[in-house]
Amino acid sequence: QLSDRLQSAFKSLTGRGRLSESNIEEAMREVRRALLEADVNFKVARKFVDDVKVRAVGEDVLNSLTPGQQVVKVVHNELVKLLGDTGEPFRIPTGTPAVIMIVGLQGSGKTTFCAKLARFLKQRGKHPLLAAADTYRPAAQDQLSTLALQLDVPVHTGRPDADPVEITTTAVEEAGARGADVVILDTAGRLHVDEELMQELERIKAATKPAEVLLVLDSMTGQDAVNVAQEFVDRLDFTGAVLTKMDGDTRGGAAVSLRAVTGRPIKFASVGEKLDALEPFHPDRVASRILG
């Protein structure tokens, strides 16, 4: 427990008093270590700790809390702020049709999330159309079609040798005729450093003008989250992110790295393989999880 570890940093401080600079130095080393163990990127952790140090020094130690608990409270509050405060609910886009583009690294959970999002929108009175624009992964279109069938949601697929950009534009063109007011674009997983495939995403975005571009990121991602986030925000200027596999026991420090580097809101947490396993992202809960 972080507050227990901080106790040794504050052995000398008892009862009422102010947190001194040297108390804070040692405490912040513990906090930084806890963040690193929770997978927060080391540069993000250092900057966060430096920012928090300023707030913690000179704070009055509340009677009800030990100095260790006091520091944890300050750190927790700052972490909640960084993660997005009270959170930003997903705004249902309007348009004829509205387009939502789903992007991210291989295996992060995009295809599954596309189906979850379709279910979420359908429950709120929208008529989604899923577009299977992944022509690379074996049976990717099968996978999305199977999920679409489970939800009784229409799906647009293309020939296996079709151009992904064309699949997306055709889906958008045909949306009206299929009674759809939202088109969800499932794209192939790709590396942020794959120039050709990142350009393909830029072409899809330019052609379909999405109301939302959502980065789907595996919540167990480690230090490299900053590189992925940076590249995707620079190239695609995504409007929000989804953290997946939050039903596991990963601490989720990637969320902090993502927010620190891009400032974009995390709109959803995927919490299981089933299609109903989708929640809004809760900064307060994730902050507690990260601090362990």
Partner: protein, 287 residues
């Protein structure tokens, strides 16, 4: 790292940062830096070559620690009369790490080495999992056994073991559904699949490989612990090393559990697999 400069605290802090940035983890990074600090005192010149060389050696020894202790057990050690073939490999791991793709690549690798391969689609849960593996079977010419969607994965594994024997194949590769190490019932299911295979083919499975995504942070250590506890891991496949993540967590896994890395995945194509080279991997952590 600058050649020829003495190993001062600033240099050591830089090395610690490099290791942490590679997902080696705080504890193992601190341990390696302390080992380096001690070793540097004995070095004539603590230049870049000496430093990287020392760390590569130190990291390399963590990967071989387990395998020197336990010689590879063969089937006939367990039961002198039994055949060594088919050699059975179970592929396990959390969701989306690259298990199905790795099996396709392994099938290609083995076939190129003149072996015959049978693939078992024991992921009966996820949408189009069987279809995905079937395409890899078609690409490689490997045999293919699948089960009913929603069916019992253990019975698919059993049927595949039977088929492997009757078809006289050299290798049986069993694909399993992704599952989190925290899902007790699914981990129990995996243990059951293993038991069923063992019953049908005494001494099998010969290998149980945990597929770890190189993007994964410290959680991979928990994954390795729990999967190892449930089914016994003989090795790791580290995938997606073609990205920018370095997968340093496998060093912590080797250190704590003595589980070696057997292969690395370096892309989405059939040939994007290589046997693990610890020294090359260790050197790759340093710019």
């Amino acid at each position: 790292l600058h050649g020829g400069r003495a190993l001062d605290d600033e240099a050591l802090a830089g090395i610690e940062e490099t290791l942490i940035a590679a997902d080696v983890g705080v504890e193992t990074s601190l341990y390696l830096v302390e080992r380096l600090r001690d070793a540097a005192r004995e070095m004539e010149t603590a230049d870049t070559d000496a430093i990287v060389g020392f760390l590569a050696g130190e990291i390399g020894s963590m990967f071989t620690a387990g395998s020197d202790a336990e010689p590879e057990r063969t089937r006939s050690d367990v039961d002198p009369g039994v055949s060594e073939r088919p050699r059975v490999t179970m592929i396990v791991g959390v969701n989306g790490t690259g298990k199905t793709t790795t099996i396709g690549k392994l099938a290609g690798l083995l076939q190129r080495e003149g072996e015959t391969v049978l693939l078992a689609a024991a992921d009966t849960f996820r949408a189009a999992a069987g279809e995905q593996l079937q395409i890899w079977a078609e690409r490689t010419g490997a045999g293919f056994v699948f089960g009913q969607q929603g069916g019992d994965p253990a019975s698919v594994a059993f049927d595949a073991a039977e088929a492997a024997v009757s078809r006289g194949v050299d290798h049986l590769l069993i694909d399993t559904a992704g599952r989190l190490h925290t899902q007790k019932n699914l981990i129990a299911e995996l243990a059951k699949i293993r038991r069923v295979v063992e019953k049908r083919l005494p001494g099998a499975p010969d290998d149980v490989l945990l597929v770890v995504d190189a993007n994964t942070g410290q959680n991979a250590l928990s994954q390795a612990r729990l999967f190892d506890e449930a089914v016994g891991l003989t090795g790791i496949v580290l995938t997606k090393l073609d990205g920018t993540a370095r997968g340093g967590i496998v060093i912590a896994i080797a250190r704590e559990l003595s589980i070696p890395v057997r292969y690395v995945g370096v892309g989405e194509g059939l040939e994007d697999i290589a046997r693990f080279d610890a020294s090359e991997f260790a050197r790759g952590l340093f710019p």
